[in-house]
Subunit: 229 residues, 2 copies
């Protein structure tokens, strides 16, 4: 609405001159032309982050899995379906980015077999099983580049948030990880976030995803300025 | 838009006094609180059918899997997630309906195990497999009721449309089945449909889903009138 547009226009230009690469949404891992594995991510948090980064003056590239959300104004969106496509789109563009924010809920696994035709129920056959293989780890791969951008991960955890998020930050080797309580927040417009870094963790707050995204952008900008990046 | 609203207001009231139960959208079969099996149905065809039936004067109940679509004006929408939930919602309401139109892309199978917590990647463990069990067949169950409503099925086929759709109509034991070329049409606003009944099959046409939905409503109304239903 109008008030939000006015607020947006007055956001500090904390990321002017930076290029930010954001992933958002779920991935869809095809089983056949119709069916697949996915998750309940709406993409709203990632789209809010992309919008907040754009408001802060950055060039923003948003690599998005399947969602029904419109691209934020001024943001370049690249649509992908699978984790492998998201990996490829990110690796092709990460060299130009100073900041990489991985909000997407990327499937850890994909089916080993993708059938060219829709698989049908067969009378008298037993129920099938879907064999899985691991997907590439986008965030860890970017963080392991010789000259990585400033990498920010997201962790949606259904239990032991602090312990699992801190462990995920070390495993992915990223300076900043944002924890949220996934199943409570999927598809909602508000959120409760916690920041994890080398110094420990502290709450970023709760509320509207765009408000939280602006706070996150300010945290990232402050860290980049401190590191002289 | 305005023109479409005017066109809608002038649709013939072919289903006045009837109650129509419509299913639409995909189902989502949970693996854990975050992940699940689903399909690429957008729900657009089913929502267009619900709207067209409402325009034709029917009371319309729309049982919908997860979509981002708004409910058509004047339609009662019941939101469900899984095939089992859709089955339960349909069986609770089908007694009041004279027409049942099953457009939903219902998952044939669901995972045997639903984990209460998000399943994590474990270092060193092999890739898992997802064991599946069959879901209830909503359309066939409704069609097998002692006094079934007039049942209309949909078939999204990626090959051999005519053969597979005709076989599906007999297997489900429904008087009318609508065939479309699924992978070409998922998520699109236009469609190409073919009707299958006891007399054979003939094209319903191609184009905008709402225009096709109105033609389908007219076909259903004519069959009900012929049968004195």
């Amino acid at each position: 609405d109008l008030l939000q547009d006015i607020v947006a226009a007055f956001q500090p230009r904390l990321l002017a001159g930076r290029t930010v690469l954001v992933t958002a949404g779920p991935t869809f891992e095809a089983i056949d032309p119709v069916r697949g594995l996915t998750n309940r991510s709406s993409g709203k948090m990632g789209y809010a982050v992309a919008r907040a980064a754009r408001e802060a003056g950055a060039e923003v590239v948003l690599v998005s899995g399947p969602t029904a959300l419109p691209a934020p104004h001024g943001v370049q969106r690249i649509d992908v379906v699978s984790a492998q496509e998201m990996f490829d789109a990110v690796m092709a563009r990460v060299g130009a980015a100073q900041i990489f924010i991985a909000t997407a809920a990327v499937a850890d696994w994909r089916p080993v077999h993708v059938h060219a035709q829709k698989q049908k129920k067969q009378e008298g056959e037993g129920a099938p099983a879907i064999a899985l293989q691991p997907n590439p780890d986008i965030l860890a791969t970017v963080a392991a580049l010789p000259q990585p951008p400033f990498c920010v991960g997201f962790a949606a955890e259904s239990e032991n948030l602090a312990e699992n998020a801190a462990a995920k930050r070390l495993r992915k080797n990223v300076p900043l990880l944002v924890g949220n309580l996934g199943p409570d927040t999927f598809g909602r417009d508000d959120n409760r976030l916690e920041l994890f870094d080398a110094a420990g963790h502290h709450p970023l707050g709760s509320g509207d995803k765009l408000v939280l995204a602006r706070k996150l952008v300010a945290e990232i900008a402050a860290r980049l300025d401190r590191s002289g990046g």
